[in-house]
């Protein structure tokens, strides 16, 4: 388990490049999470004056998400091949849950209730699945 923890946190004899890239992904992800939460709170409380400001805030959050993608792609491209394998397996699992789980959820939701399905649940399930996939991958190859 210690091996898994060290592997996840990039302190287990990892190339400096990987550690730097992991930190970059973490920082961008945190900024994105804060931006999404702030955006949602601002819309809910009608804190921003006018629809144009709300649109600008949503656009800014979307730009941050491009930063997350850029950082993650760079990490994937530059990390060593075992990490690439672990990420690939976790992402495959995540896509499976996102596409098939998301569609199943959508169908059941339409059958069982009148409203439109909430995409937030699918996104949360995908993020959870990805995290589990990475942990399982690190355990498998440790």
């Amino acid at each position: 388990m210690e091996e898994v923890k060290k592997g996840l946190w990039g302190t287990c004899g990892n190339p400096r490049r990987d550690v730097a890239n992991q930190r970059r992904v973490l920082v961008w992800s945190l900024i994105w999470a804060v931006a999404v939460l702030a955006n949602a709170a601002a819309i809910r409380t009608e804190w921003l004056p006018g629809r144009s400001m709300e649109l600008a805030a949503a656009a800014a959050t979307s730009l941050v998400s491009v930063g997350v993608l850029w950082a993650y792609q760079r990490y994937l491209r530059e990390t060593d091949e075992l990490r690439q394998r672990i990420e690939l397996e976790a992402l495959a699992f995540t896509v499976g849950v996102g596409v098939f789980g998301g569609m199943a959820y959508s169908l059941f939701h339409r059958v069982l209730s009148a409203g439109e399905p909430d995409l937030t649940y699918v996104t949360a399930a995908m993020m959870f699945t990805y995290s589990i996939g990475v942990v399982v991958g690190h355990r498998r190859y440790s």
Binding site: N14, P15, D80, R83, Y141
Partner: protein, 64 residues
């Protein structure tokens, strides 16, 4: 695939971390190769062979 990585590393009295540094991979990768949980790509296998001054087939062999 079987390999002699652990033996070759031990002959040089290198740690996994040292070998990982030489190969520019994580220590986890070296450990996974040594324990047979992960087969390296051809470029990495060539780097390993070059590092130890051997041919690939002198380090790696198919497990039958």
């Amino acid at each position: 695939m079987k390999n002699r990585l652990k033996v070759l590393r031990a002959e040089r009295d290198w740690t996994q971390a040292r070998l990982a540094q030489e190969l520019d991979v994580s220590r986890q990768t070296v450990n996974a190769i040594e324990t047979g949980k992960f087969d390296p790509s051809l470029p990495l296998a060539f780097r390993i062979a070059e590092l130890f001054g051997l041919k690939i087939e002198e380090i790696f062999a198919p497990s039958r």
